[in-house]
Amino acid sequence: MRVELLGLPRERAGVAELELEADTLGQLLTALAIRFPSFNELISVDRLRPSFTANLNGDRFISDPATRLTESDSVLILSADAGG
């Protein structure tokens, strides 16, 4: 599936998007933490830390590590604080 990184997660990773394989959100986050050591700031085991959030396909926000993902999904990782 496609992972899109926005804002600070993009800064930390140094890329805007990448392809990963995972069946659940928790697996995806674990894989991201392994791929990008700097994501320790964002991810604790299989969950995002409170300052960050995940969105599925640009539609709904998700947080449960057990959330099922499919190959055609696009998962966005972004800052939770949208203050302007």
Partner: protein
């Protein structure tokens, strides 16, 4: 009198230069704290909510807070409170930095200004002694030139707040500027201009003592440490402008006067792109450890502080993709003393009217940076079509007709910030019920939309309590006063706020007390509005948002019945 306060306010009539030092009962301070809360209370004491906002008798309040001058990070803030000439409802705008500290050291918790000076004047408050200096030579000067000139004339130690040409010309969304920042929304600059006051300079030596200095120092150190963490990293490293690409990806970036939620050319004005071609430096307010300000250079020209709200309003909302045009427009607004959100909203509205053939200004087209810059300049000087646009989108729509009010991007007359209501529907409710109109600083309901608590494109009644929670929290932060960018660092906001207040004032404040205080402050704003003529049908959104799904995302739709149900539930839960 509790620690942390002087227990009085200065009432200055600039018509004759008279000054009264008026006590504030401790019960009032405890009930309304400072900033927005105390400011609205004083406004009700001193003025008539039904009077014209620009009448000499209508007060303008600068309110400080118990935390001002303390070592708590981000506490150097002040609220400017008045009736808004744009909305005819309550207006409380906040700004930061040295003016708050120096103003409080004048020995007062607030400054109330009434009357009208005979000539353009600078109001000087030196340790509580008040004088008026005629500054005819500064007529038409920018905010920055005015501030520098007054400082140079008075010498060291003064902090200056000023208005630009827009405030002098009664642009209904003129700002009050200090140290490069603005009490931005709702037209407080026009209110100060109506008093013929071009600048206020404050200097003082009177410090408040803290009830528990050692404990306060410990709390302050801990808060500063937390402010360096991940909860504020976005603001520190990228600034608020980082919202742009995120909102665009979510289809929530207002574009071409809310005709779309995505802007094809968003990347070109994103901070990620601009920083590759423009120099960037960082700055912060006095007494702030976050440092959210990102200042971009344009060649040899002076740098421009760029925030998301300015970026969306002067960029995607007007269809402008030239980053230099957006940066220059932001700087021009700063110089003239104009709220960038209302400027962008009103100009984008005019651009759509031109597009429809309802406004005969063929040069004013979406996408033209030159047109936007020209329009801002005309607004500041109230010349040509600028005289109409200086009135804001609601009044402009009344003049233009053709049912253009249906897409004037405002609530209660205040232009909508950069959060597309159809794509962020808890925020839509926050906008609809906001006491000062569509506002992202008095309602942080977008936080809820950015979570799995709600479906952001299909709000249910469950969203209402969340919207209320964010509104209450904002009311408390605006009265303590603390920067909202700190909100993510608190594990228990009310308990930690109570702890701060205890150490500063000596009160036995509790989390529950502060929850009640927050609701009281929201309530007193409503009371002002009721006295000013508010009716329930004002708590809505313009027809565009209720009649038409977001064209770029048809799933993003909120109809009139849905919004009315949310508003009714909001009123029910508020007990109104």
């Amino acid at each position: 009198m509790p620690f942390g306060y002087h227990g009085c306010y200065l009432r200055i009539d600039v018509s004759d230069g008279s000054v009264d030092r008026i006590p504030i009962p401790e019960t009032v301070l405890r009930q309304f704290l400072g900033g927005s809360g105390l400011g609205v209370w004083l406004l009700l004491q001193e003025g008539d909510p039904a009077a014209d906002a620009l009448a000499p008798a209508s007060p303008l309040v600068f309110a400080f807070s118990p935390l001002v001058g303390s070592p708590l990070t981000t506490s150097a803030k002040f609220a400017v409170v008045s009736k808004s000439p744009l909305t005819n409802r309550i207006n409380d705008s906040l700004a930061s930095s040295g003016f708050a500290i120096a103003g409080k050291r004048c020995g007062c918790d607030a400054i109330v200004i009434v009357g009208r000076a005979a000539a353009p004047s600078a109001l000087i408050i030196d340790d509580g002694r008040v004088s008026l200096h005629i500054v005819e030579h500064l007529r038409g000067a920018s905010c920055q030139i005015t501030e520098a000139a007054v400082k140079e004339r008075l010498g060291a130690g003064y902090q200056v707040a000023s208005i630009g040409p827009a405030g002098e010309n009664a642009v209904r969304y003129a700002t009050i500027s200090h140290d490069g920042r603005h009490a931005g929304r709702g037209g407080s600059g026009a209110v100060l201009g109506s008093k013929n006051v071009k600048a206020i300079a404050v200097r003082g030596t009177q410090r408040c003592e803290w009830a528990h200095p050692r404990e306060l120092t410990e709390i302050s150190r801990d808060l500063s440490k937390k402010s360096f963490g991940p909860a504020t990293a976005k603001y520190r490293e990228l600034g608020t402008a980082a919202n742009l690409l995120t909102f665009n990806r979510l289809g929530a970036l207002p574009t071409r006067n809310f005709q779309s939620g995505t802007f094809d050319e968003a990347v070109s004005i994103s901070p990620e792109e601009i920083r590759t071609t423009h120099s960037r430096t960082r700055a912060s307010c006095v007494a702030c450890t976050i440092g959210c300000e990102h200042i971009y250079g344009i060649g040899a020209e002076p740098g421009v502080r760029l925030e998301y709200e300015s970026l969306f309003a002067l960029g995607s909302l007007c269809g402008v993709s030239d980053p230099d045009a957006v940066l220059r427009a932001s700087r021009l607004c700063d110089e003239l003393g104009i709220d960038t959100i209302s400027a962008g909203g009103t100009i984008a509205f005019a651009m759509e009217c031109v597009q429809r053939g309802w406004l005969d200004e063929s040069w004013l087209t979406f996408g033209s940076g030159d047109a936007m810059l020209r329009a801002i300049d005309l607004v500041g000087r109230r010349e040509g079509v600028g005289d109409l646009l200086a009135e804001g989108s609601r009044r402009a729509a009344d003049v233009i007709g053709h049912d253009s009010i249906a897409f004037a991007p405002q609530v209660k007359g205040l232009e909508i910030p950069g959060y597309e209501p159809r794509a962020l529907q808890t925020m839509a409710l926050g906008f609809a019920v906001g006491a000062r109109g569509a506002d992202h600083n008095r309602s942080g309901a977008y936080e809820v939309d950015f979570s799995d608590k709600v479906d952001r494109r299909h709000a249910t009644l469950e969203a209402v309590r969340y919207a209320i929670e964010t509104e209450d929290k904002a009311a408390l932060m605006d009265s303590l006063i603390l920067c909202k960018f700190l909100r993510g660092v608190f594990a228990d906001f009310y308990a930690e706020s109570a702890d701060m207040l205890q150490q500063v004032t000596g009160w036995d404040a509790t989390a529950d007390e502060l929850r009640e205080t927050a609701r009281r402050i929201v309530g007193i704003k409503r009371r002002f509005n009721l006295m000013a003529g508010w009716t329930r049908d004002e708590d809505t959104l313009p027809p565009r948002f209720l009649d038409t799904p977001l064209p770029s995302d048809p799933a993003a739709a909120i109809n009139r019945q849905q919004l009315e149900a949310l508003v009714a539930e909001y009123h029910r839960q508020r007990g109104w």
